[in-house]
Symmetry: C2
Subunit: 357 residues, 2 copies
């Protein structure tokens, strides 16, 4: 109701404020009239149906093309009950990881004739509610959620929609919920193992308190690497930020008391903040302390020093998620969980441990 007030100011007659109805798009019937056929014939001709004579079909298509006719997807959606539309939920597009995934999703969706509704929840429950409601009203054929805590809020609403769902880097117990996951455990184990091989023993982990499953799995991988080298995992060497540079700085500050010689960060954004904090304390990377990230975002290779990190094929994961969703929407069975391999990319932010530690 608030937005109703925006248009017409109180009392005053609207200047030219009548919400413009478009001046009448031309419809299938207009084409039919020009071509001197009935509108179903036009409909069939444009669908390349074999039920219509090849000559007339060609003529109709030509006329439609010259008139610049565009079939209304909304009318079609109403009758076919499939909108060829998906909803894409993301905590925030401003996060580079998310935007890469979005990119992959959008490309393959378009390639298959689907349009995507983008919505970022900002991790705000109220906004999440509105988003899901909007998707429900838009009658999307499927939903794709990336890097968001799938809260208790989603479930009941989504269940009511009876629409297939695919999660990226998250899981949810439920019949119609599938997911695409990176190998969190193995990826982080490789990163930590790399540090172990370089002779480090006081290795810290800087996680993401909102990472939930991803964070748990990466931490587990971290632990596994240390334990298999018989290095005790000390709680003073574990801290959590929120996956963004700012909070990472604070968490890093706290970790410094334990004097780590290396640190595994939950993701590259965290590594960005952590490294910045290290410099503020006069520590040099990697001479005094080694740092690893996770994701391999576009900037990782361009940092000083270039960041050793675990590569996630984010765009590819978006593509896989969309393809999985496409299968579900067409009624096929699909593997409920797709696992993608992670790859350790060694650059210059990690080095053999020096004397200092």
């Amino acid at each position: 109701m608030a937005e109703k007030d925006r248009g017409n100011a109180a009392g005053v007659a609207p200047a030219q404020g009548a919400p413009r109805r478009s001046p009448r798009q031309l419809s299938i019937k207009d084409i039919a009239r020009i071509a001197r056929v009935s509108h179903p014939t036009v409909s069939r001709a444009l669908q390349n149906s074999p039920l219509v004579n090849a000559k007339t079909a060609e003529k109709i298509r030509r006329i439609a093309d010259e008139a610049g006719y565009r079939a209304s997807a909304v009318a079609r959606g109403l009758v076919t009950r499939r909108t060829r539309t998906i909803g894409l939920v993301v905590t925030t597009v401003a996060d580079p990881f998310a935007s890469e995934v979005v990119c992959g999703v959008e490309q393959t969706a378009n390639d298959h004739g689907y349009s995507v509704f983008l919505a970022d929840s900002n991790a705000d429950p109220e906004r999440e509610r509105k988003v899901v409601q909007a998707f429900a009203e838009r009658r999307v054929d499927g939903i794709l959620v990336t890097s968001s805590r799938v809260g208790a809020l989603y479930l009941p609403m989504l269940a009511q929609m009876q629409v297939p769902i695919v999660l990226v880097n998250d899981q949810y117990p439920g019949a119609f919920v599938h997911s695409v996951m990176i190998a969190n455990f193995e990826g982080m184990r490789a990163a930590a193992g790399h540090l172990v091989e370089l002779g480090h023993r006081r290795i810290a982990y800087l996680g993401d308190q909102f990472g939930y499953q991803s964070d748990a799995e990466r931490l587990a991988g971290f632990r596994a690497a240390l334990e298999s080298a018989s290095i005790p995992v000390r709680s003073q060497l574990i801290a959590h930020g929120d996956g963004k540079p700012e909070a990472a700085m604070a968490a890093m500050k706290a970790l410094l008391a334990a004097r780590p010689t290396a640190i595994c960060c939950y993701n590259d954004m965290t590594a960005l903040g952590a490294t910045h904090q290290l410099r503020a304390h006069g520590l040099r990377v990697p001479k005094d302390i080694s740092v690893t990230g996770f994701d391999d975002l576009f900037f990782a290779a361009y940092l000083e020093p270039p960041l050793t990190t675990v590569r996630q094929p984010m765009r590819r994961m978006g593509q896989l998620a969309m393809e999985s969703l496409l299968r579900l929407m067409s009624g096929e069975e699909s593997v409920p969980q797709i696992r993608v391999d992670a790859e350790l990319v060694v650059r210059a932010s990690t080095a053999r441990m020096s004397g200092r530690g």
Copy 2:
């Protein structure tokens, strides 16, 4: 057609491959039956129309709520001829500038009951064509384009749509095309002026060959700063990349022959690549050479050294663009061009010129 093959493997009968029609959503008529009223009454009740008795309206709303009813936006769109939907075109969401703008757009769109179709063109003409066609078929109420060359392709198709359009950081001569622009000229002039004040005289400009108007304006600002200090602008000190780090590295390499002591980059992504190249050549920033960026992306403050740059309020610009579009869609007149101020943010990648130059 290629995608048809993906689902059902050649020859084999599709397992349960019938495109699932959703099992019948419940409609306004179902609610009407339960409430023992006619469906128009339900329609009016849910719109809070004063034409329906307060008691019955309340009862209807309660029933609808309990049944989990969600009005079909597609049916509503068909009859009202307004979908409350906008199309958002972007060269690629993976670009941090774009994703920030997208973020601002999406937020204010949702706040006003609009959903946004996201599409990235990838600067591919064929894809652009498909995108615009999809928007036309979806019957979007408006279109928003950010940081894309608005090619000759767009115009005829968009003109046919008769839909308001708002451009971010681009302009187009045309009746219904509005725009939101950053102060490119003043921003870059401030950055270059800053370098001049620091005593630099051999200042290079590393532009974006696809930046068109933005690049032209920023280059003009660069020139103005130098000329007002009576510094000649030498062509060997001007090069162009494509707005991304990789191409910036190549362009930077070429510039080094002219031995600049400072460099103004078209944007932060360019600065990222340029700086990387400088280091590869053993040059220290800012001791040997100063660098400035443009945008103030999230990583700018976290680089080593933190990047001096020109801040663009990207999210705010997305918001302004969407608000402008909202006005246009509601038939109001709106200022055809909104100009946003840029702000120089001085950090540590620029320093007083040392002896070397």
